[in-house]
């Protein structure tokens, strides 16, 4: 079990990505402990989502390494990384809008089970999937909407379904891409407490612009600008840092 002996949940070494002449990730190195809560900040176009896409496998870096629990996953496709315990949400809502909330979350559960290849039994045969999907919807406060199609529900609720799909997988590393974007104050508070209640063994890496809310959830902060890591470390140290004020807070 080499996976368990690693000190790092996620390790990124000298990652580089360029689209033609435009370099969007330069020499990025990061380490995330199991259970760590890390906030990634930076101005628009700093390369935050591009970094996420490389971690999840949607984009292949030009050079560098990505390790999950000590295992080099750089050449792995996204679905293989998911099976190693990586889950993510999207900045732009990516749900199955004609299907019910329960079906959406069930797909999240099915993705990691061998029964996803089952070709003669319907999904409804697997009662445990349905039970678990409903339990997850309950934790995000959407159980009452379980049988409604996603297209029927409000934007803030869709954000929570995004989160429920990822949480259902019980990930060891969870990437959250702007989970608070476009939410009202009440919804923000709901999602914030939801993220706060994620099990302690799950490492959470979050991109978020709403500093007031996000800083409360983070132990450590990474500041990106022009694809580079500018400051990286303990939350308070990063916030107090001169360069953070310069780049991000614009002071």
């Amino acid at each position: 079990m080499t996976l368990l002996t690693s000190d790092h949940a996620l390790e990124i070494v000298n990652l580089k990505k360029a689209f033609g002449g435009l370099v969007v990730t330069q020499d990025v190195s990061l380490t995330i402990r199991p259970g760590e809560r890390r906030l990634i900040i930076g101005p628009n176009g700093a390369g935050k989502t591009t970094l996420f896409n490389q971690i999840s496998g949607d984009l292949r870096p030009n050079s560098g390494e990505i390790k999950l629990f000590g295992k080099d996953v750089t050449p792995f496709t996204p679905y293989k990384r998911a099976h190693l315990g990586l889950s993510r949400t999207y900045q732009i809502i990516t749900l199955f809008s004609n299907d019910t909330l329960e079906h959406n979350v069930t797909l999240g559960l099915l993705g990691l089970r061998p029964s996803r290849w089952q070709m003669w039994r319907p999904l409804s045969y697997y009662g445990d999937l349905s039970t678990e999907a409903r339990r997850t919807l309950d934790t995000v406060g959407l159980l009452h909407l379980a049988d409604h199609p996603v297209s029927d529900i409000a934007y803030g609720e869709k954000r929570r379904v995004e989160l429920a799909m990822a949480l259902a997988q019980k990930p060891r590393v969870l990437l959250l891409d702007e989970p608070l974007a476009g939410l009202s104050n009440t919804e923000r508070a709901q999602v914030k407490s939801l993220i706060g209640s994620i099990p302690g063994e799950t490492a959470v890496i979050m991109i978020e612009h709403d500093m007031d809310t996000a800083l409360d959830l983070a132990e450590s902060v990474t500041l990106l600008n022009y694809g580079r890591v500018i400051v990286d470390g303990d939350r308070d140290a990063v916030i107090a840092d001169e360069r953070t004020r310069e780049v991000y807070l614009g002071v």
Binding site: D58, Y79, H83, S87, F96, L107, M119, Y125, Y126, Q169
Partner: protein, 311 residues
């Protein structure tokens, strides 16, 4: 209400052979064959989001393999059918590897190109396929020693195969795997992030669709007792695609209805109207404008609306 519908559909298949003339029974057999073909294409187009313009490859290749094995190499119908289906399925697996390098328009173009290669081969390699003359003088099999040479007996044979095909394809798309197929159609990137292998899901579906395309090809060659390169042509693929879209892609029965419509226009109306292609075009235009999701979803919405209005 639901059972009345099922009873009506069953009756419309079971009753006609007892009083209809051979012409109409044969027409019904052809509709069944076209329906299996359209249903298999619907697995790709409707449930997988893979619009193929080369599905005739599997119908044609299955038909040619069976025709060649029984006439030229002295095989019995049983072994010929098994080899033909195995060969067609293997071909689908091979073509799938090539075509699934792309999605969308790229996929469509590759499937079109591959089917054109086969069509060209059927025309040009005339020492094997007999080229433009086609292969004539074929016989029908005798399943369990029962002759299916008459119009009515062939209809029953085709009906049994078509029912089995419909059930098998319905089970496939209703299964857990079928749910993942629809997921890959709608949000392939998200499905990959959730741990599904989109490529493998598409490939397996491509092979399964190829197999049922092959089944329809066997029935096709049994029915016609003749095979010609046009069975491999783009027109043949496009007619099936037209049926799928007209009937309602991604629905269980829609493609069968669409296939029936195309076939009726082609075989029945053409007897009275020389420019039946024009009528086909107009009918298709009407469907696209009035029921953009197809006949079956369009009618069920209409029925639901009427029922809601009369209340």
């Amino acid at each position: 209400m639901r059972w009345t519908g099922i009873a009506l559909v069953a009756a419309s298949f079971l009753v006609p052979p007892f009083f209809a003339g051979d012409f109409y029974v044969n027409l019904a057999s052809q509709i069944l064959i076209a329906a299996i073909f359209a249903l298999s294409l619907n697995l790709l187009v409707g449930f997988g989001g893979m619009t193929s313009l080369g599905h005739a490859s599997y119908l044609g290749v299955a038909a040619y393999i069976s025709a060649l094995l029984t006439t030229r190499y002295g095989f019995g119908h049983g072994p010929a059918a098994v080899i033909s289906l195995a060969g067609t399925t293997a071909l689908a697996a091979f073509f799938g590897v090539i075509a699934l390098r792309a999605t969308g328009l790229g996929f469509l173009m590759i499937t079109l190109a591959l089917s054109q290669v086969l069509w060209g081969l059927a025309y040009r390699v005339s020492n094997v396929t007999n080229g433009d003359n086609g292969i004539a003088g074929l016989t029908r099999p005798m399943p369990f020693g029962i002759s299916i040479d008459s119009a009515v007996s062939f209809y029953w044979f085709a009906l049994i195969v078509a029912t089995f095909a419909f059930v098998m394809m319905t089970i496939f798309v209703s299964s857990a795997f079928g749910s993942t197929l629809k997921g890959v159609r709608d949000q392939s990137r998200r499905m990959a992030a959730l741990g599904f292998n989109p490529w493998m899901i598409r490939w397996i579906t491509f092979i399964y669709a190829g197999f049922w395309g092959g089944v329809s090809g066997l029935l096709y060659v049994y029915y016609n007792k003749y095979i010609h390169p046009t069975s491999l042509s783009t027109t043949s693929s496009a007619e099936a695609l037209l049926g799928v879209i007209a009937g309602g892609s991604g629905t269980l029965g829609g493609p069968a209805v669409g296939a029936a419509l195309v076939l009726l226009l082609k075989n029945y109306v053409s007897a009275y109207l020389e420019r039946w292609n024009m009528l086909l075009g107009l009918v298709f235009l009407f469907i696209v404008l009035v029921m953009p999701t197809g006949i079956v979803p369009g009618f069920s919405r209409l029925m639901a609306g009427l029922r809601g209005g009369s209340r």
